[in-house]
């Protein structure tokens, strides 16, 4: 939670136990390298003081892109995938999309601004997910309890 990593093919990046958090993967299709961030919050504005960069959507995506650039990736060749953003408990006392929904909206808005297309997503719902990001193909495997694995 609130962490991220960048690496090259043929590595795999894992992230497990996503509820309302969102995983965004960025993949440079030409150079076969990419990164993953496990984002907890839609923005860093409400946070006081310093915080881990990967915790919030805005700083997490900026950090991912910076790290990938330093590995000679080009944002022009990057594609994004999103996983998570669920609403785990259905209760009468909180309406609306919840943190999960806000996280997804925020990540999409930031990616649009940076002109990185979201080519696949597995988001929303009321169940948790785990993610495996394969750097050789850019594929993302999504696992959930009691559901079939989904490759996106």
């Amino acid at each position: 939670m609130g962490r991220g990593a960048v690496t090259t093919a043929p590595h795999i990046i894992l992230s497990s136990g996503l509820g309302s958090c969102v995983v965004v993967t960025l993949y440079d299709t030409k150079r076969k390298l990419g990164g993953l961030a496990h984002i907890m919050l839609p923005d860093s504005i409400s946070l006081n003081g310093s915080h881990p960069a990967y915790k919030c959507a805005d700083t997490a995506i900026a950090t991912l892109i910076k790290e990938l650039r330093s590995m000679r990736a080009s944002p022009r060749d990057m594609v994004a995938k999103l996983v998570g953003g669920a609403k785990m408990f259905l209760s009468s006392d909180d309406f609306g999309p919840g943190i999960g929904g806000q996280n997804i909206l925020s990540v999409k808005r930031i990616l649009t601004r940076r002109r990185i297309p979201v080519i696949a997503e597995n988001t929303g719902g009321n169940y948790g997910r785990s993610v495996e990001f394969y750097l050789d193909s850019g594929k993302v495997m999504v696992r959930a309890i009691g559901r079939e694995n989904m490759e996106i």
Partner: protein, 223 residues
């Protein structure tokens, strides 16, 4: 990075452990009544963690669990979770069924699997209700804090997935999470129950001050 200062002194942490020990005793008594059989307890493990990552000391983040989520209101606000690992859920439900209907009976005969699952979750919600209540009673007895919990909602999934929204919502600044790991022996079955308290940022100081004062009072009384 987060300011990771120790929330409690060693003495205060011992006091918290003692308080939760009494809570576990209360919980065992309550479970004895609910399950209609002998319940033995181990000494609970109490941890105050200051970072979500440290949850992984206790369990894998993807451990399948059933979780009753409640809110805390009153002197201390925040979130309260009762968590039972999925492998022990069926044991707990079977024991509860047995207590109500007698050995080998089931109230689920003739129900669809959906209805049966809903009933199972409702059993966990009720147990969550009872156990959370007796823990908060222990907190009240020690610290004179009136904390009430709201009606539980229950879900089954990976433990971290169930907690992350509340962790984010309640603790945008420094995160303190109180985790109590209980082990109950019921009819030779080991049942692990985790109680997770996430005090809101505004409540952390109230809780810490009350623990400090209550401990000092106890030290004085003890002469």
């Amino acid at each position: 990075m987060n300011d990771k200062k120790q929330l409690l002194s060693t003495e205060q942490a011992d006091f918290l452990t003692e308080m939760m020990n009494i809570g576990a005793g209360n919980a065992a008594t309550a479970l004895t009544q609910v399950l209609q059989c002998r319940v033995d307890i181990g000494i609970p493990r109490v941890l105050v963690i200051a970072d979500v990552q440290e949850l992984s000391i206790l369990t894998s983040p993807s451990l399948p669990v059933v979780c009753a989520r409640m809110g805390m209101v009153g002197d201390v606000s925040g979130g309260l979770f009762l968590i039972v690992p999925e492998e022990q859920k069926e044991d707990l439900i079977r024991l509860a069924e047995q207590a109500v209907w007698g050995a080998g009976q089931s109230w689920r005969a003739g129900l669809t699997s959906q209805e049966s699952d809903d009933l199972k979750l409702s059993v966990i919600a009720e147990i969550g209700n009872i156990v959370a209540g007796v823990y908060l009673t222990a907190v009240h007895d020690f610290c004179k804090l009136n904390i009430y919990h709201t009606v539980p909602t229950v879900a089954t999934d990976m433990v971290q997935a169930l907690l992350d929204e509340s962790l984010v919502r309640l603790s945008r600044q420094v995160q303190y999470i109180i985790v109590v790991e209980n082990e109950f022996m019921v009819e030779e079955k080991l049942i692990r129950i985790f109680l997770v308290m996430i005090p809101s940022v505004e409540s952390v100081n109230i809780l810490v001050n009350s623990i400090g004062q209550a401990r000092m009072a106890m030290v004085k009384d003890g002469g």
